[in-house]
Symmetry: C2
Subunit: 226 residues, 2 copies
């Protein structure tokens, strides 16, 4: 086994990002907006999770919008607009993650108005988005049961940083060799205080629990404003 | 929609990689080794595909080995050793792709001996590995039916560069809303001359076709050696 050398070029980039993220955080705090940074592999179901989340939170009167990060295409933003919330697509070109300056520029362009929740759907990638603070309140890692239960230890950075891990596509558990307990044990090792929510957008399993987690965080954020 | 600026820092890195890749290509040509660079999202089934490929090619007398790229853990190399081929794990730390110098150093460490086929299983990522030439004969993109048929257009770089796209987990098609025709049409647009092979490691569907593709390429490479 060999170990790659550290890529020193990243340090000044991350420092500049941290400064821009702090500015974003102040902006979100002043507005009382809960900001959720969703990170997963491609195809784990980030957009689908939001499609089932939006109607439930809207029924509670929450104002929401989404920033969508993608290498190419407007497809995810279109899906969320169809679900009934404003969505702005940030096409990153070749870049494998969003950064705080892209989010800041996207927000200026989007001009969403007052929000209770801003969802940031990061580029589908378990590596690059991990290190980039977007001024969010929480990172949410999605893990589909079709990906295999070894993923938390293979991508420890994101599962250690995520306050919430959402398992998706639980309706497929009868058809795939996924050991739920083993995945959960890995996430617990990496993030002992993290929330673990098992969901299926198809059957609705766990969606109420996930929405309740968001609502509690919106209320806590509102209480600290001003 | 906004467009991120190009990251200029990548140009000298890619130029250095290209030079190292050319050296690798000469080394592989002299040895008559077919080199296959497997790229996909995390959990698309790269290691599982190799687990079912290895016994079939070994039965034909082919000598194989694997280089495994991962952010963390030795798990994939262990699985391939269990499948009966030498495997060497390159743990990249935080880096989201293999590069030619890591492959070169890994090969020196691994000292595999004469090979007909070298599999390079890249880090699970549809973005970063795309631009890094590893001196391979072909890139193979894997796309699991659980990931959604929109992925080729969302990650056009890899599907345009891959000589072969292998659809995986086709046994799950009855349980997921994946439009096979739509995915194939996207890949055809991006790579009109590419091969498209639909497989399931569980049922064996398409595995003979995939192995025949590799064998034909091994024979073509052997014919051009010396």
């Amino acid at each position: 086994m060999s170990q790659a050398r550290e890529v020193d070029v990243r340090q000044p980039i991350l420092a500049a990002n941290a400064a821009a993220a702090d500015t974003l955080r102040e902006r979100f705090a002043a507005a009382g907006t809960l900001v959720v940074n969703l990170i997963s592999a491609p195809g784990s179901g980030k957009t689908t999770l939001l499609e089932v989340t939006v109607p439930r939170l809207r029924a509670l009167g929450l104002r929401m919008a989404a920033l969508e990060g993608d290498i190419a295409t407007e497809r995810d933003a279109e899906r969320l607009r169809a679900a009934g919330i404003p969505a702005y697509q940030i096409v990153t070109g070749g870049t494998c993650h969003l950064d705080a300056r892209l989010v800041s520029a996207g927000l200026d362009q989007a001009a969403f108005g007052p929000l209770d929740v801003l969802f940031i759907e990061n580029v589908g990638n378990l590596v690059c988005p991990t290190s980039y603070d977007l001024g969010e309140d929480l990172k949410v890692a999605l893990l589909s049961v079709t990906e295999g239960e070894d993923k938390p230890f293979k991508y420890p950075g994101i599962f250690a940083r995520a306050e919430v891990t959402v398992v998706t596509k639980a309706d497929l558990l009868p058809h795939v060799p996924f050991k739920l307990d083993e995945a959960q044990a890995q996430v617990r090792t990496l993030r002992p205080d993290g929330r673990w929510i098992v969901t299926s957008a198809t059957t609705g399993q766990g969606i109420e629990e996930w929405c309740a987690e968001l609502v509690a965080r919106v209320q806590a954020k509102g209480a600290t404003r001003g």
